[in-house]
Symmetry: C2
DNA sequence: TGACCCTATATCAATTTGATATATTAACAG
DNA sequence: CTGTTAATATATCAAATTGATATAGGGTCA
């Protein structure tokens, strides 16, 4: 799935500017499972506009720079429905954290500890965002689905890491006592 | 973290060819949290070789094409240790599946069902690979860490989806009866 | 007045993907 | 014995994407 389909999906929930799409991807319900940069979003919106899948409207704002508001068209909705009715590709997961943990014999216990803490902070931040988004419940049944799935997965990660952290701290205390 | 560091990490566990590195990334313990294509692995190995972080040895094989075996050097190990002693970047997770589920009002219940089933199959496949890899326990404490973390997270995902699937099936049965 | 942050769009080199090409050997079917 | 498929192995490249940077208007706070 490319960024064009991603933009159509977000626009299907309501009109938005490129900047707002980026915000959704960073802070919204999408943030748990979507990544996209300005460098892909703006070209995607331009192309969608050329293809007639979205319309653009330039909007003046007071106290802020002007923005271009994109609205999905009927043919855009059709293209979206078609694009998301195929078997989804396998999830992609990349974790520098797990890479470091696998090679933990190359790093000191203190570095391992701060890495675990950082991962815990990241997971809890993500978790808080999901809770926040699902409380303002904008997306109905689909939103509940992804919120519950994200919650389950992230909570399991936190639980596992809390245990690993405690284990490491105990071990470090023993080593310090020697 | 770039593919060069990834290759150094894999080579730190033992010598390998580009093809074998790709296999590790596809089927090994790394597969849960790493992605890399030939198009990035081969150039990375060439560059590492130029920089003196790995050495190459061409090996003839009977019954198979020749291969280039890469071995990490001392300065390669130093570069690796340095590269993985920084705070890890945030995990990256991309899921077409969750994107589809969030926009499920655009797709039919049967398509939702096959998507859920596909995700369950993917998760169970990943889970089986982790169990298999951790039984042959090649990587010691680091391997156990990532295996347990992966297990926790994937199991939570499976459990959540089994529930969602049952819920959907019940709902579809009710709708069919009407 | 300057420093810094938020909103907003845009661009671009560098990285990475995903697909394809090439070659060797084995296995298996027709 | 010929064709097809599959595994091993390396390499390349167009296209997509990232991550950083540039530009610009406005607000806030010292």
């Amino acid at each position: 799935m490319n960024v064009r389909t991603l933009c159509l999906g977000i626009l299907s929930l309501g009109e938005a500017s490129g900047y707002e799409i980026k915000k959704d991807v960073e802070d919204g319900l999408f943030s748990h499972f979507i990544e996209a940069s300005y460098g892909s979003i703006y070209p995607a919106l331009n192309q969608l506009s050329v293809e007639g899948l979205v319309t653009v409207r330039e909007e003046e704002q007071t106290g802020k720079p002007d923005k271009k508001v994109y609205v999905i068209t009927e043919s855009g909705k059709n293209a979206l429905a078609k694009a998301i009715s195929v078997l989804p590709a396998k999830d992609k997961y990349k974790s520098e954290f797990l890479f470091q943990m696998l090679l933990q014999n190359y790093i000191s216990p203190d570095v391992i500890l701060v890495a675990i803490q950082k991962q815990l902070d990241d997971l809890n931040e993500d978790l808080a965002r999901i809770v926040e988004c699902s409380q303002s419940e904008t997306e109905g049944i689909g939103g509940r689905f992804v919120a519950e799935y994200g919650n389950a997965v992230l909570t399991a990660g936190v639980k596992c890491l809390e245990y690993k952290k405690a284990e490491l701290l105990k071990q470090m205390a023993v080593q310090a006592a020697e």
